[in-house]
């Protein structure tokens, strides 16, 4: 008799862009997963790595959009305290459940950044083997 293992679901998210909007999307998607006790593995590449630098998290609130009305509305909502800033949401999610952020080793090398240069939200610096392993477990990748 074959007994199938009942796997715990897992969500992997690849974030490549580093604007406020992109990080907001990241935090929102991750919140849905953590809310149902689904572990989340985030892999940051390219501009997102820059956005996770210690001095950028919590300060870079520039909304980039092709739609000026949307950018203004989002900025107003942020300034009015109606939207949870992405860094606060990700921090809360780490408290609520299992969420891990890894930054791409290649981009960290290019930018000459070490672990201590990143915000405390970042768990480690790793390469594609680590990401591939997470994807293999999750059977899915959400790309931002």
């Amino acid at each position: 008799m074959v007994v199938e293992e009942e796997y715990e679901p897992l969500m992997t998210i690849l974030i490549k862009n580093g604007t406020y909007n992109d990080f907001m999307t990241l935090a929102l998607i991750a919140s849905g997963a953590v809310a149902i006790d689904m572990p989340v593995r985030i892999f940051a590449m390219n501009d997102a790595v820059w956005g996770l630098k210690k001095e950028n998290v919590g300060h870079d609130t520039i909304v980039v959009s092709h739609n000026n009305d949307y950018a203004h509305k989002l900025s107003d909502a942020l300034n009015g305290g109606k939207v949870i800033p992405w860094w606060d949401l990700l921090s809360d999610l780490k408290d609520f459940g299992e969420l891990k952020i890894t930054v791409c080793a290649l981009v960290a090398d290019i930018l000459e950044l070490k672990k201590e240069d990143f915000h405390e939200l970042v768990d480690d610096i790793a390469g594609v083997a680590n990401f591939a392993s997470d994807v293999e477990e999750a059977h899915n990748v959400v790309t931002i």
Binding site: Y7, E8, K82, F96
Partner: protein, 84 residues
């Protein structure tokens, strides 16, 4: 009768109300009743779906003036087998 905890998340946008509910439920025990007040339009879909998925009980949803009351009774936490 168990105590009812009221969370006033009116004015907060998605996922604020859901996060407030998740946080409160994690901090309390089975049988506790939590009433969430939310003006977020998405809550009418999100909150009942999460409550069902997380094995809690949606006691009632009351329409009010520009917001809704979501009354939830905390259920037994689902246990999942770890992958590794």
């Amino acid at each position: 009768m168990s105590q009812k905890i009221v969370i006033d998340a009116r004015g907060a946008y998605c996922p604020g109300p859901l996060m407030e509910l998740v946080k409160t439920i994690k901090e309390n025990t089975i049988g506790t009743v939590v009433e969430l007040l939310s003006s977020d339009e998405g809550s009418i879909v999100d909150i009942p779906k999460w409550v069902e998925k997380a094995n809690h009980k949606m006691v009632e949803i009351i329409e009010d003036d520009g917001f809704r009351h979501f009354v939830v009774e905390i259920g037994e936490k689902k246990q999942r087998r770890r992958r590794r």
